[in-house]
């Protein structure tokens, strides 16, 4: 008895089974943490940069917050800084884009997840991925050399200007179509098979199953897809920079030229821009607004998924 205890004590002394502190392991973990924390720094950097320059902009005596949000003219040369023409153009292109992408995207998603054969899916899904992988500048080119001439041929050259928000919006709809489709399709495919079979069991047709059982069950995912798509449309730059027009204009006519917020930032910063001028600062004010809009939209979409997701297990 005594002897056995002695051996155990000797063993525990020679082999220490506690976790040892290893300096290199801690160093590696520290480095990896810095990598991950870099993303926080990025966000802080964005907020700081946009916020600082915007504050400088609003501190200028020529600018007032009230006029910024209600002014209908954006002409930095004469000190008019009203965001409405730019915001209105952004709204119009995004609305047109959603009007194209939402019905089409949902239609394609329902077709792919409920109707298409395995063979059709295996061809269509990669095709949509190709569409999603094409750089936006190519879409801009497409809007200017295909969509605009098409619109002008159909509606008449005096109705449709060379640069117009309709053409940019339509092509933007094609751009975000794959996004809506793939997110919605994921949501629809996540609905368990048993729900569909239950619907068939009580005599529903395929359409009734798709629209009244599967679609409501996947609604949170689809809503998130739509919100993300809107955020993408608002932030989309190259299509509107190329096809929507160069020059802020407050118009509700989609066939007239009007510059969007993103288009304005690209055009002005692409030219010779002197730092510390009010023009330069005004871009950051637009950028801040853009950032806030997309940020809020993204957060809402995440909340929608979290709160309204139906979990079937």
């Amino acid at each position: 008895m005594q002897k056995q205890l002695m051996t155990e004590m000797a063993l525990s002394r020679s082999i220490d089974l506690r976790k040892r502190r290893r300096l290199s392991e801690s160093a590696i973990q520290g480095f990896l943490f810095v990598c991950a924390a870099l993303s926080i720094l990025t966000t802080l950097g964005i907020v700081y940069v946009l916020g600082r320059e915007s504050l400088l902009f609003f501190a200028d005596p020529a600018v007032s917050l009230w006029k910024f949000f209600t002014g209908i003219r954006w002409q930095p040369t004469i000190g008019e800084f009203g965001i409405l023409p730019l915001a209105n153009a952004t709204l119009m292109t995004s609305a047109i884009a959603m009007a194209v992408a939402l019905p089409l995207g949902l239609g394609v998603a329902i077709y792919l997840s409920e109707y298409a054969s395995v063979r059709a899916r295996s061809i269509l899904k990669p095709a949509l991925e190709v569409l999603a992988g094409i750089p936006t500048v190519v879409y801009g080119y497409f809007a200017l050399t295909f969509m605009t001439p098409l619109l002008r041929a159909i509606l008449g050259r005096d109705v449709v200007e060379i640069y117009n928000t309709a053409s940019a919006g339509l092509v933007m709809g094609i751009l975000i179509l794959p996004l809506v489709t793939s997110m919605s399709e994921d949501a629809l495919s996540a609905v368990p098979r048993s729900l569909r079979e239950a619907a068939y069991g009580v005599g529903a047709t395929k359409l009734e199953t798709a629209l009244q059982v599967v679609l409501p069950a996947a609604l949170s995912g689809i809503t998130a897809a739509v919100i993300v798509a809107v955020s993408r449309a608002v932030g989309e730059t190259m299509i509107v920079a190329i096809a929507a027009g160069a020059g802020p204009a407050f118009t509700f006519n989609p066939f007239r030229a009007a510059e969007t917020m993103t288009g304005h930032i690209v055009r002005i910063s692409g030219g010779d821009l002197s730092y510390n001028s009010i023009d330069y600062n005004s871009l950051f004010a637009i950028g801040l607004l853009l950032f806030l809009i997309t940020f809020v939209l993204n957060i809402i979409s995440r909340q929608v998924v979290r709160r309204f997701r139906e979990v079937y297990e």
Binding site: S24, E25, I28, Q29, F31, L32, F33, C35, A36, L38, S39, I40, G45, I46, V49, L50, P103, L104, G105, G107, V108, Y111, A116, A127, L131, I134, P135, T136, V138, G140, Y141, F142, T145, F146, I174, L177, G203, T205, K206, L207, E208, L211, Q212, R232, G235, T237, A241, I242, T262, I265, S269, G270, F284, G287, L290, F291, T294, L297, N298, R302
Partner: protein, 441 residues
């Protein structure tokens, strides 16, 4: 009792199938309501067919859009052009001998007559005329004297279908011109630098600029992105700080790319100018004109842009590595890092690489942030390092598209094809990688 019976007419398609269950819960296949159900069913099926057709149609519209996009690009890159010479070759004939059959000395005389003395001296110093062969001299005469140039161009579709109309148009507008087939995408297009004449312009500078930028972007983003993913998947406990990091990364993935451009402009181009212009390292090409608008600034901006995407992809790849592998490694006494380095990472590598390639293809196509960071508008010198001024392929496409002349549209289309081929090659390698290694798991 079904609703359709009560109302004496078929229920609306919306709820028609709901009352198909009787009160007792047994399905009514035939019976009282069965009398009307065939008619009702036919209507419901018809609506089903219409919608089926609609869903299919929207898919077809999507495919048509893709086709139209590719079609536009292709027809603009090939087609008929009207070539016009600055000097009619027939007028250069000496004593009835056409210019292409003239002797070497006669060609030199023509050159001396039409080209300024300064240019002659420069050409002579490159290689004396006496040493040049007759063919070389003829090429020189064509290049310097005849100067054929494109005055109008037509798309492939028009060229094939409306040739007579084109001929008539051309005869009226450019009487001296001749019609030729031209592929705007050719070897010279890849070799030549940017130029203000569309038929001489090429994508060499832009292509090299893109490759430099992407290379540096990967060098920065890959280690940081994978590191962050390892931390979040393998080390992070579920506490507030780590949840904030994760949420933040997801949110960053949704920030418009142009915002990153503004961050890059304010941070890398202005605040870190001594570093990004190379002045700090004494590497700036020309200290007097050096500024922060360099390849390095662009690459840093793109690295921040693709980081969230890269991290999310890498996290997914590591999540797919089975738990048992880690436990086995711990069981043999490996440390945390040994387990990650020798077991988790090798197994997640194909997934991580696929995700990285997808992130890179995103970075290659990005235009807006680089315009904001300040790609040079016109640059004809090859980039020589991270501190060179730069232009990239998408920016070149953007600038050419913004020009009003048709010929710039043609070379923009050719540049798009180059860009798409580059992206296709990248994506194909990602798919190959995925297929090759996915079998092992």
């Amino acid at each position: 009792m079904s609703q359709s019976d009560l109302n004496g007419r078929p229920a609306s398609a919306r709820t028609a199938w709901l009352p198909a269950l009787s009160a007792g819960g047994t399905p009514v296949v035939e019976g009282k309501s069965g009398v009307q159900s065939p008619a009702n069913l036919a209507a419901r099926q018809r609506i089903g067919h219409i919608w089926h057709w609609l869903f299919q149609a929207s898919t077809i519209v999507g495919i048509i859009a893709l086709t139209a996009l590719l079609y536009t690009v292709v027809v603009q890159s090939f087609g008929l052009v009207a070539m016009q010479d600055a000097v009619d070759p027939a007028s250069l004939a000496v004593n009835g001998v056409p210019v292409e059959q003239l002797s070497q000395e006669k060609l030199a005389a023509i050159l001396a007559e039409h080209v300024s003395a300064g240019v002659i001296r420069r050409l002579e110093s490159e290689k004396p005329f006496a040493e040049r062969s007759r063919e070389e001299m003829y090429a020189l005469v064509v290049e310097r004297v005849v100067k054929p140039g494109v005055v109008a161009s037509w798309s492939l579709g028009d060229s094939l279908l409306r040739r007579p109309v084109i001929l008539a148009e051309m005869a009226q507008a450019y009487p001296g011109a001749r019609l030729e087939w031209r592929s705007w995408l050719n070897v010279d297009f890849l070799r030549h630098p940017q130029s203000s004449t569309p038929e001489l312009a090429g994508v060499r500078t832009a292509l090299l600029g893109s490759l430099w930028t992407i290379m540096i972007t990967i060098l920065i983003a890959f280690p940081v992105g994978v590191g962050a993913a390892i931390y979040l998947e393998e080390y992070a406990r579920d506490n507030v700080a780590n949840r904030i990091i994760q949420t933040n990364i997801n949110n960053l993935a949704g920030v418009p790319s142009i915002i990153y451009g503004m961050l890059g402009l304010a941070l890398f181009v202005r605040v870190l100018e001594p570093l990004t212009s190379g002045a700090l390292l004494g590497a700036a090409a020309d200290p007097t004109t050096a500024n922060g608008r360099t390849i390095l600034s662009a690459a840093l901006t793109l690295a921040l842009l693709v980081l969230p995407l890269l991290i999310i992809n890498a996290q997914e790849a590591m999540r797919a590595v089975p738990r048992s592998l880690r436990d086995a490694s711990y069981g043999l006494g490996a440390t945390h890092w040994q387990t990650i380095w020798h077991h988790v990472l090798p197994n997640a590598l194909p997934g991580i690489l696929t995700g990285t390639i997808l992130a890179i293809s995103r970075a290659i196509g990005e235009t807006a942030p680089l315009v904001v960071v300040g790609a040079a508008t016109f640059i004809a010198v090859d980039p020589s390092g991270p501190f060179s001024k730069f232009t990239t392929l998408p920016i070149q496409i953007y600038q050419w598209t913004s020009r009003p002349q048709d010929q710039f549209r043609n070379i923009a289309a050719a540049a798009i094809i180059v860009l798409l081929i580059l992206l296709l090659a990248l994506n194909a390698s990602a798919i190959l990688l995925r297929n090759r290694y996915s079998r092992r798991m």
